[in-house]
Symmetry: C2
Subunit: 520 residues, 2 copies
């Protein structure tokens, strides 16, 4: 075999190419800052030198706590270009959770965008991790100006690219290990399905720290598109950018789409061209789809997890659906769909690992395997083993398989609530509630919610004579966990149990579903 | 590393997925025959059983002599699904050339579309290779109807997928070994750059036997597009299909584009939507680009070789070119461009392997490496070594590198003529001419030609007293080689030589260039 016939698949190749092919084209707009592809590449190359100067060696973990900014985008390229491992932190987490991840990942550096200067410094000091502060006039910019590149080529495409922490049933965040090959292929897959091109203007509504922005930090770069940064979800600002930056694509949970549709900006002049929107986390409702359509936006429903590099599944439109009425179309589009073009086929299996019939009725669990599935959980072989079934990855999502091969989620096997696109493990909330001195026990379930998809609801049994209030319980949770994990309703009650003493979560879920229905 | 995190990259995965996702959608139209994706997949699965029944084991070579038909498309999927190696034959070759390839590849089976029943049977008998004849009521259809699948999964993505024979400087066709990984990635690359989707209707103007139709036999399948077969290049028929099948994309050498533009069909009603056209082999002229534009066709100039899975390079449009006038745009689009999204950067190097300056003037040779470069030449390590330079593949194309990183071919280092998109090695034509009893020596060079890009021109020195005519020399060549290799002009003359007796090809080229200019 000739030695000219191979190159490692790594997403760092994309920026290098675009710096050459699209040198003078705008790569990033972040407020007043605009960078061309050549400038972005030069900064990222210099950043590899900054990292090296701060002692970051290949294989070291570099954590980043940053908004959707040029900083987080640059880290997505520069950290792997240094041969190091990117650990993007969820900015909504509590200091306690951030500390845990910094410690667990063994990060040797924490990079901060200006919004997190204070909390980042505090957490880093606690864990004993050095900090690199970004922002105008910051160390980040000062070091960048003088640094010589210290790139390290990828020598193993299946090697560790990043660790993305996600809520799990154990209640402690688990570190999803991604690899170069998967991110590379997933980037191409997103481009094929979204048909982005060099005229693409991509608005960063989805957090870059979530599955690395579904790999679009690299995908949009590969095609020479424009990254339009959005440091904060603000629906009016989104409308301003949609118009000013000629946005062609964005991605967001249905919750955010509802905010966009509700905003005053939606009443402005129509957009100049239709916008392609990718959504996931929960199915878009018929009402939302109809509203988005009227606003000039075409919504594609994607399905994925952090463990699958973001969207491993896609609800591919079928031309025979053109003839259906809006409600029928919406029902079909609510399905999570099929594996994407680079994925192995998604399956729905019973507890023995056998495929369920394609009857749209028999429940099973979605399992996945292939190049866009993680390497495993970082430093947690038990957790990896727990999600492994005969060489397949168990997603924890319960679904049915329809006759046309499109799967549809009906429930989640794992005790996880998805609220506004964020995962909440019931058990981690329960553990914090239970740590309150007045609490005997608690159970947390998801209740359907029009705005957030689901909200966490707590059932709490308190000690005799306790006068603790719901607000006090909520404040206790907020002191330890991210705000989105705080139960939106807290019921003081006895908790139903089976004869063996196991909490009957299903009964509680039924209660909250019924009360949501009667309220709706 | 968990075992759910990897799958071999093989283009056979695409048909399997599309059979599921686009089951009922039309996959192929070939005259009166229409196949859905499910039907195409079922036929290809059955074909693996037919191949097995005929003794084709994994690793065996299966040759195909077929027009752009469902047969050749099916073989592109079924042969690798059987774990065997596809050897698509150029239908324009002479029986002598076909025999050589059948023999050299060690093919264990030759599959024929109906057009080649006679010549195929004759050649196969000569080499002693069994034949499978396709066509209505044929063995192919009869066996297919009863066969049980005998698929063999790909266990090495870098393993041999096919052997595509191409003219080389040695004068004997060389077998370019392609691999699964390269074809998979190149397919995705073509989709990203062409922005095909499931509504794509792809007209097969480019031969599927040429670099496996630039990997689009698999690429169009991956996206669930329609393969519109075209068994013969006929410009009026092309126009009929453009209209009847709602063609959105096709690929062809400039020669074919000129035929399309010249056809009566071009004067018909305008097409309903713009058509994306990919061209390569020689640069499209400004006149041609303007004509295509008026016909509703957007031309992209690609660059590649059989050794690079077809188009490794692309002339990517730059938005700053929008403002230029048509002549300036055409001059820029005549450049071969940059590496595609999955390619390593194309380089232009001097004889020591160092990059030439980006000055648009210093000549060098284009070199390539990466996942879309061949494994090497089949059973010809010397030829592979001859095109290897420090781990890079020498294309034999001489070019300059412009300041913007776009390369432009100025000449060919190898003595190869490209006529109507087909490669002709001068030496193989010279060898045949020299075998004529009246000939002393000959030299063949390419002359510029508006229709064919280049045409072969022969300079021949005959023995004293010979009365051989140009027509007789041409007939002699035609008896041994493909028709497109027959010199279009034959000059009886002394051949200029250096003091050491080496033929001065460059002087001959200058002669034909000057005469083409004065004729133009």
């Amino acid at each position: 075999m000739a030695d000219f016939t191979f190159a490692e698949l790594t997403p760092t190749a994309f920026l290098r190419r675009s710096a050459d092919v699209y040198a003078g084209r705008d790569a990033v707009v972040d407020g007043d800052l605009r960078l061309t592809y050549r400038e972005l590449y030069d900064r990222c190359r210099a950043l590899t030198g900054v990292l090296a100067g701060l002692g970051v060696d290949p294989g070291d973990r570099v954590a980043v706590l940053a908004t959707n900014s040029h900083v987080l985008l640059e880290m997505h390229h520069a950290v792997p270009m240094r041969g190091a491992v990117l650990v993007p932190l969820n900015i909504r987490l509590s200091p306690e959770e951030l500390s845990y991840i910094l410690d667990h990942s063994g990060a040797t550096l924490l990079v901060l965008s200006e919004e997190f200067a204070e909390v980042g410094a505090r957490v880093a000091a606690e864990v004993g991790v050095p900090v690199l502060q970004a922002g105008p006039g910051s160390d980040y910019e000062r070091l960048l100006a003088d640094a010589e590149p210290a790139e390290v080529p990828c020598t193993d495409e299946r090697g560790l690219l990043g660790i993305n922490y996600t809520s799990g049933t154990t209640g402690r965040p688990k570190g999803v290990m991604t690899h170069h090959r998967g991110a590379y292929l997933q980037s191409l897959s997103l481009l094929v399905h979204s048909r982005m091109d060099q005229r693409t203007s991509y608005l960063w509504t989805v957090p870059m720290f979530h599955c690395n922005g579904w790999c679009l930090t690299w995908g949009v770069t590969a095609i020479g598109g424009l990254h339009v940064c959005l440091r904060k979800i603000d629906a009016e600002h989104i409308w301003a950018l949609l118009r000013e930056e000629g946005v062609t694509h964005f991605s967001a949970a249905p919750t955010v789409l509802t905010m966009v549709a509700d905003a005053e900006g939606a009443a402005g002049p129509p957009l100049e061209h239709r916008v392609a929107v990718q959504t996931g986390g929960s199915p878009p409702s018929p009402t939302l789809l109809a509203r988005m359509d009227r606003l000039g936006m075409d919504v594609t429903h994607l399905y994925g997890l952090t463990e699958t590099f973001g969207p491993i599944g896609i609800n591919e439109w079928q031309s025979q659906w053109d003839a259906l009425d809006a409600d029928e179309q919406a029902a079909l589009r609510a399905r999570q769909g099929v594996g994407n073009v680079i994925a192995e086929p998604l399956r729905v299996v019973d507890e023995h690992g056998a495929d369920v019939p394609r009857d749209g009725a028999t429940p099973g669990e979605i399992v996945a395997r292939g190049n866009d599935v993680m390497l495993g959980y970082y430093r947690d072989d038990d957790a990896t083993a727990a999600v492994t079934l005969d060489g397949w990855f168990r997603t924890g999502d319960l679904a049915v398989m329809h006759a046309d091969g499109y799967l549809e989620i009906t429930d989640r096997a794992k005790d996880v609530i998805i609220t506004g696109g964020e995962n909440v493990a019931s058990v981690e909330v329960e553990r914090v509630i239970d740590s309150h001195p007045d609490v005997v026990e608690s159970a947390v379930v998801g209740a359907p919610d029009e705005r957030w998809g689901e909200i966490p609801v707590a059932f709490v049994t308190v000690r005799a004579g306790s006068t603790v209030t719901a607000d006090e319980i909520a404040a206790h949770v907020r002191a330890h966990l991210a705000g989105f994990k705080v139960p939106k309703q807290i019921h003081f009650t006895e908790i139903p149990k089976t004869s063996t003493g196991k909490i009957q979560k299903q009964a509680l879920r039924q209660t909250v579903h019924e009360s949501a229905r009667s309220a709706g």
